[in-house]
Amino acid sequence: MDSAAGESSAADDYESLMSTTDAELLKRAWRNEKAAPEILKFDADLVQRSRQQIQLMEEMVDEFGKNGVDPLTVSLYQMDLDRTMFLLRSYLRTRLQKIEKYVFHIQKTAEVWNRLSRQEQKFARRCAGDIKHHLEQSVLTKLPDQYQSHLRQSAASEDDDMVPEPQLDAYVVCRSKRYLGAFQLDDGSEEPVNIEADDLYALPYKSIKPLVESKQIDLV
């Protein structure tokens, strides 16, 4: 239908315009973080800017309250503020949940550790310490010598096999803004997948990991 094509190109332009605003970026970061099985890189700039904007807005709303601006306007600004705060908080919360889940893995993998913000690293350290302490106190010290590590099943294990790792094989539903052409899935034995714009695909996360990092694909 012609009208549909016209609409979608106007929507596309609008999309590309919108996608540069912080609100849109925050939304996308939140979506990706929620859908990804592992913790993604902390977008420090975005969080910083969002916090500044939120603070400015809060001050503005206070001003409005004092100056007796129309309560409707005030409540609308407050709603927008609440929405943005929810996004930011949920983003940080999701990350904290992932940190708690995989804290030992994160601690020992430098590459993942670097994806955390300074405060998150502090949190992770404390969290790891607490869990370790708890495990040792409640169980590990009561086991025979060889089994007292919280990272390994026994002293005879070669790896840290008691450490849960995020499942990178997990499938995710994703969408690309542009046509990405033939894309080779990770295992190499399969034919490449044709990724079109704006279609949803269910793919293993680790195959599209680099695309997510370079922001070419969004998780839905």
Binding site: L72, D80, R83, Y102, D161, V163, P164, Y171, D199, L200
Partner: protein, 211 residues
Amino acid sequence: MAAASEPHASAFSAAELEFLAEDEMVEIVPNLRMDPLNFISGDFGPFRPQIATQVPLWLAVALKKRGKCTIRAPEWMSVDKLAQVLESERDSEKFQPLPFHYVEISRLLFDHAREDIPDIYMVRSLIEDIKDVRFHKIGTGLEIISKERTYALRLKNLSAMEANIVRPFITRALETFYKLSSSEMIQDSDHMPNRQAQATNRGPRRQLKDR
């Protein structure tokens, strides 16, 4: 294996999907005069009586609740368009293009802007029918996924709510295939000719919803 951590069941709750949908733009006709609003999420307005303007859905609903505007039903929400979509949905095996958040948008409008939608009962029942047909298609489509070698699925024109609902099933199913087939491949080194024949039979990777 100690690392049997289970991936999130449904990554987004229905409320969160609605939250995402609330940023979609809709047209309203305000009945008040208001200066432009400079939100974090964008700048909207100015608002003048009887002059239509585009705002995000959450703002439209907020204004509507306070009786400050009427909402214009989006173009795709007319009885004619929807009847057309329903018919093509029934006739074809593919999914018809619909706005990504059509479920959430229609829900919000039904709840808050009842009088602004012409023929609302018709529209509502059409949308319900469309939803049912699509879900049924998803079900039959999933039944025929080949048990071997499905590495990726293409879900063309699926909407947000639908994708969220099938996500747990699809991800677990595909993961299981993946695990099973990779262990198969390790053992199966003398069945080479057999495998190749299968690969050509199947054609390029599974295009589930696209025939």
